[in-house]
């Protein structure tokens, strides 16, 4: 089944001095969120950026893939704390996404946890969408 997800953005003024706003998204879960060029490359100062949104997409995608995989293996997690840090180089693009996960999974040892995390990383649709990013790393361990 195909799923469509939508976001609406406006921008007023020039790139350097002007500002953008993610006005709304299809789910209504967030918006408006302010976006500026400065927030993207220098001090974020409470404003988001395309790369931070990709980080949020990657972290949430990985956490679902991992949680689903653990449940399917008969060892559902109690809790997964996931972070993604995306590196953006102006003129080049996104050069890295670094995933970190700390998990509480009853009945699972460290080696099995790390192996399952690697599988989730590869299967998550956002990792697949980041196929052209040179470096995608994963740091996984039990909490």
């Amino acid at each position: 089944m195909a799923a469509e997800r939508t976001a609406n953005v406006t921008w007023t003024g020039s790139l350097q001095e002007g500002s953008g706003r993610i006005e709304s998204v299809g789910s209504g879960a967030f918006g408006p969120l302010d976006v500026t060029w400065e927030a993207r490359t220098e001090d974020s100062d409470g404003r988001t950026s395309p790369e931070e949104l990709i980080a949020a997409a990657h972290a949430s995608c990985f956490s679902m893939a991992f949680s689903g995989g653990l449940a399917k293996a008969g060892t559902p997690p109690e809790r997964l704390d996931v972070s993604a840090t995306v590196t953006f180089v102006p003129g080049t693009g996104i050069t890295k996404s670094a995933l970190t996960v700390r998990g509480t999974v009853p009945g699972m040892d460290e080696a099995a946890f790390v192996e399952a995390a690697e599988v989730a990383k590869e299967n998550c649709p956002v990792t697949q969408a980041l196929a052209s990013v040179p470096e995608i790393t994963l740091d996984a361990s039990l909490a």
Partner: protein, 128 residues
Amino acid sequence: MSAASSESFALPFTLASRVGVLEGKTSPEELVAAAHASCFVTSLGSELARAGTPPVRMTVRCTITMDEIESGDHRIVASHISAAADVPGADDEAVARAAREADAGCPISALIRASATVTVEAKLEGGD
């Protein structure tokens, strides 16, 4: 989920909001849509300014499509950008040209195009 670098949002998300009903919860694909739209809008503004016709205002909508592929896994298969710009001194063709350049320069367009289809339509605001 929260945005640690800017602290600009903290959001709930679920599997249901990803493939089924939205119920006010976001999804990874909706966040990719927000990323692509916000990246494209800055690229379009740059291209219009470079052409000597800086925009007064731009609106960009991005729709991400996720679909099941043969293996049964889900993949992002398409991103569609629909842009409108209020640009004094420019016509539809100039906006469309700037949009093509913006698509070529936007790093998120390049990222998504590596594994999915990216389509762009753009027009002068107030035109048809």
